[in-house]
Every structure is written in structure tokens, then in C-alpha cells.
């Protein structure tokens, strides 16, 4: 079964809740895009720029839009990871009131997850529900865990999911851009900037456009907002800990 273009078919993968345990996108016949293409609500989109524009519209207009950075951009594995992390922050810098909630690892959080601190692939819907997130972007999550997470979010929440994937993309995300290296992530940031300006949405004058969650606010002296570019790798406050994943907690979970 070949994937059809967005002009030929109804959308397949849309914000849920899709059901108690809906079929996976692969079971519904959704296939991954080839290089240069994207997935647009389960439909093959030949021009990935159109997918990026829809990502921008959703992230700029949906309540509590959130970026979920995964281990591959949270941990300083190598220069490439650090560069991608900078590109992620450049995307964040274009989205007024955006939240950033990390997925630093893949272990279940027991006895209880703090949905304002992390998202976890074993129960991602708790973070979505807890923060009433209606649009999100996953970046830097290993593909298997991203796929689990995306399936559960589609099943149980009304969140519109985007996967900016370094590999081949994700069928269960509503919007997918594949082969996202640092350069393509910066292209996404530029597309968001363009769409934002077309929509007349302005950034705060002081550059503090990222909104802290309650937990993050507590570890940042009750500040409510921050400038994402101040967290660029190499700075003193870089890393997962900057977004509420405290050193003490990391030691406890180690």
C-alpha cells in the first residue's frame, strides 16, 4: 500500500484521543517518508517545508505548546550533540510562551512522576495531561522510545505531536520532518520565524519567551520566564538540570 499525498486522502493521524488502544499508524498503512519528504497527518508530503510551516502554526497557536528534548540533545555526547542542542534552543527562541520539558532518560519514574519536571516514554500522557499541552515537538529521542511515546499520546490525549527526527521520521507523529541535523533544525527555526511574523505574533522585548513550569520556576528563584539562548551549551547553566532536573534527583536516580 503506497502512501498518498495530502491532496488525495483524508488525514489519518490526527490529534486524539484516538481510543483506548488504537491501531498503530503502521497498521493503518502509514509509511515513512523518503528523504526530502515529510509526513503530514499520516499522509506523505513531498515538500517537507509545508510540514515545517504546519509545525510552526500549531506551536504558535496551541495552548501550552511544548518542546520535549530527548537524551541525544540533552547530554553532551559530542560536539554534534551540543550543536543540535543550540539549534533546539534557537527553535525555542521563536515560540512565545513555549514550555521546554526534558526527556533525559527512558526509565519509568516511580513512585511518582513530576509532570512539570520530565516526560517519560512509559507514561507520557501524564505530562501532557498535567500541563494541558495541545502541541509539542520531540527532538533527540531514540526512535523506539519516540514511537512508544507518540502512540500513547495519540491514544490518550488531544495533543498535536511533531517529530523532528535525525533518522527516517515517525508514523505515529502527526507531523514529521526527517534527517534533522543541526542545519535542518535551524531551517525549522527560520520557518517558524517566518510564519510567526506572517501571523503578526511578536516575541517579548526582553527575549524571555520560554515559560517555566512550576517546578522549573522553583529552581530558578520563582522566575516565570527565561531567554532560551542563555542556556546555550557551554554556558554555566546548560543541561537537563537547568530545566528542573536537579543534580540531587539525578544522583538519586543513578
Amino acid at each position: 500500500m503506497g502512501a498518498k499525498t495530502s491532496q488525495e486522502q483524508e488525514r489519518i493521524i490526527v490529534p486524539g484521543p484516538a481510543g483506548f488502544h488504537p491501531p498503530s499508524a503502521a497498521q493503518l498503512g502509514v509509511m515513512l517518508p523518503d528523504p526530502g519528504e515529510g509526513l503530514f497527518y499520516g499522509l506523505l508530503e513531498k515538500n517537507e517545508e509545508k510540514v515545517m510551516e504546519e509545525v510552526a502554526r500549531k506551536m504558535l497557536t496551541s495552548p501550552n505548546a511544548t518542546i520535549f528534548p530527548g537524551p541525544m540533545v540533552l547530554w553532551n555526547w559530542n560536539d554534534h550533540a551540543a550543536d543540535k542542542a543550540r539549534a533546539v534552543l534557537e527553535i525555542a527562541a521563536q515560540l512565545p510562551e513555549v514550555l521546554i520539558i526534558p526527556m533525559p532518560d527512558y526509565r519509568p519514574k516511580y513512585p511518582k512522576i513530576d509532570p512539570e519536571e520530565v516526560i517519560n516514554p512509559n507514561h507520557p500522557n501524564l505530562t501532557i495531561w498535567g500541563n494541558k499541552i495541545e502541541a509539542c515537538i520531540f527532538i533527540g529521542v531514540h526512535c523506539h522510545y519516540a514511537n512508544l511515546t507518540l502512540k500513547m499520546i495519540r491514544a490518550g490525549t488531544n495533543c498535536c505531536t511533531t517529530a523532528l527526527c535525525a533518522e527516517q521520521g515517525h508514523e505515529d507523529a502527526m507531523l514529521t520532518v526527517r534527517d534533522c541535523d543541526a542545519a535542518k533544525l535551524r531551517r525549522v527555526a527560520q520557518v517558524i520565524k517566518r510564519v510567526r511574523e506572517q501571523m503578526g505574533i511578536k516575541l517579548p522585548a526582553n527575549g524571555e519567551n520560554v515559560r517555566f513550569t512550576g517546578t522549573q520556576s522553583k529552581v530558578h528563584e520563582n522566575k516565570t520566564h527565561t531567554n532560551p539562548l542563555t542556556f546555550m551549551p557551554g554556558g554555566s547553566a546548560a543541561g537537563a538540570a537547568a530545566f528542573g532536573h536537579t543534580t540531587e534527583q539525578m544522583k538519586r536516580e543513578a
Binding site: P23, S24, P108, H142, N147, E167
Partner: protein
Amino acid sequence: MSETKTNPQGDPVTSMEPEQKTNPQGDPITSVAVPKADAKQDPHEAAKKQRVVTPEYMFFEAPRTKEFITGSESAKEAVRRSNVDLSIAYPITPQSETMQLIGVLYGEGYVKEYYRGEEEYGVMSAIAGGSRAGVRCFTATAGPGTLRGLEPIASWPGHRLPAVAMFTCRVVNAPLAIQPDNIEVSYLLNCGMIVFHAENQQDMFDFIMAGFMISEMNDVTLPIGVCCDGFFVTHARGYVRMPEKGIKLPPRQAWRGAVPVLDAENPPARLSRDAPVQKSNFMAYNIHAVWQQEVWAAVERSRKYIDRYMGGMCTAENMENADAVIIASGSAAAQSREAARLCKDKGIKVGLIKIRSLRPFPTQALRELCKDTKVIVIPEFNYVGWLAKEVATAIYGHSKAKIIAGPHVYGGQSMPVELILDEVESGLTGKKSTNVPLSAIMGGVDDPAAMAHFMRSI
């Protein structure tokens, strides 16, 4: 009178052959000694000179020469060219000499690590560890060994462990036999792993090599079982066209896998200890459910790579204007090809569909190929007819063909091509079959009751 030498059973030893060397258990040592080499010569010299080529060059462009070798030898030659890091053996008897030959490759430096496990459970568990650590793994087993290792084998897909395992099928139930009976394939079909079925020595060579590449694709990241019908393929010789020994596939790029590799030395090491689901609450069940969905989604994603590297999940021969179609996999495909030739001699046009990939199954291709077919004959080397069930399920509602689930041979029997010929003629003429019970024939009508009876009875 001089004392007569006797063997352990008390029979006089009359052979003039030199005394047979034995191991400490008393078994004769039959292995070929490592050839004596010049002390200055590096035994790994040739292996070190191998150069990495692209899969496309290896599979489609490299010049090939033809050799007349056994299936075990073709597996060895595939592994030689596949840049394998780790191979673990347990020499179940009687299996094949495959893993013994991989040991020779280790001696020559073509395989980086090799050892004998305690038994198959240990072997398959260790393969899991090797794959999780990020290295390219290969092993082989057969029959009871497959089933002994089945618990860890069945956990490989869930752990997203790329590896290639060769299953040289033989009887698994008592009484045991050494001849082929591919009942064990049916135990592998629903593990979540990708399963290929090799017809001959050439398939064995090609499927193993393609298997490594497909297995390690990021969006696949699954183990692959390459099955063949033991003895016919492993022990018998056939022509195999192979590229030169001096080239090999690219190494595994574990860092690109769908899951993080087990790496205790590089941060963040905590990622490698991410626990699987352990808690009994709704969330745990939910993650486990989507985890299984994801494994099977990965099986689906492998289709395009099977098309790319193997030329498709099935092949079709002489389908145009065919009166009947034979659908077969493994050695049965070879017998079916000969049966089709005999049919042609008798003026009956018979097409042949050879299934190469059982998981994923070529459902769409079969629906297209069989939409106008009147009679389908499915010969198999097992009692239960697992392939017939797969075919019937795939084309139900898309073809009105009469499906004959047989002939079947099992317990190590050979399959005379005349049996297949008889079923083609019976299917076309309505003559009563002498080898396939009526309950194993689904008529060419849309009758759910008949279908249910068929699925229950074959």
C-alpha cells in the same frame, strides 16, 4: 596367540587405518586441523586486507564467481563477507557444520569473537547481550535447539536487537530425525522477528548478507531468522555465485540504532540501564501494548528494505495465463519448480510463487498475483500447513481460488514431485486426491463456514 584389539563394544578392530584420535569423552576427532602456516605469516592477514564496500556494490555490482558448496559452507562464506563481530556456537547434534565453519573463520580473523555457549538458552541470551552492546552478531541452531533457545529468541525483537540467526529446520517433536521438517518455522513466525525461508544454498548466502543490512536499519532494528530445510540445504551441495573474499559489508553503526546501546564506559551510562516495564498498573500495561505495536510496525517497515536488497518478499514465475498456481517456500519451492515443469510437459500451465519472506508476509503481492487464479496448491514439509494458513488468510476475500493445503510430507520425508503434480491435476479436474484430505481443500466459493472448517482442519 596375540591379543586381538577390540572396540568399546567388544568387536575386534580389523581396520588397517591408523588409530583414531579421540577427545576425553571418547568421541573421534574429525575436525580438520588448522593448516600449518609459516610462523612469520599472520593467520589474519587476508582478513585484515578485506575492504569495506557498500551493500549496493556487494549485492548488485561486484563480479561473482560460481562455486559448488554446501549450505553450511555458503553460510560461512556469507559471514566471511559480512563484517561479523561476534558469533556464539552450541553444536547441537545433529545440526550442521555451520557453526564449526564459523569457528574456522574466527581462526582466520574474519569474525572478531567466537565461543561455545553452555547450551542454546545461553547462546541466545549471549547474542542478546552482544547485540545490545552494539556489535554485529550471528548464530545458528536447529530443531530442538531452536526451541530450547526460543525464550531468549522471542525476547530479541522486544529488546530491538539486530542480529542474524540461521535456523536449519528439522523435526522438533519426538521421535527425532535429522532430515528436514520445517515445523519449527511456525514457532518463529509470531515472535516479532523477521523470518526468511531459503530455498537453496544461493538463497542462504544472499539472505544472510542482506539480513544483516535490513536488521540494522534504524527504523527496523530487529533480529532476522534465516530458515532453511536442514540437510537438503545445509548438507547438500549446490551452485552459489559469490563476490570475492576480499570485500565485506560496512560495520554496524550501533549509535544509529532505534535504542541506545549498552555502553558502560561512555556517558550517559544510565541510558543503558533503562528498565523495561516492571510495574503492574495501567500505564505499565499501556506501554507494553504500544511496545508490541512498535515491534510489529518495525516488521512492516522492513518491507522496503527487503525489496531493495532482496528484490522482493516473493518471486513469481510463469504466472501469465496459468491454469493453476503453486505457492511454496524453502525446499518445497524447488520441488514445485520441477512439478511445474512436469505439468508443462503434460500441457498444463502452472505458475509458481516462491515466498522468500514469511515475516513480513507478501500479502499485497499475493492478492494481486492470485486475484484471477482458479487453483492454488501449497506443498509443505510439515504436518500443520502453516504456509497454507498464511496464504489463505492473506488472500481471503481477494481471490476465489480453490486452495489445496498440500501435499504435506513430514518427519524427514522427501517430497516426490509427482505428489504436487497430482494435486494440480486433482484441483483442476475435480478428481479425488489421494494425498490431501477434503478438509484441507477450501472450495472456490465465498463460504465463511467452509473457510472456518478449512482453517481449523489444515
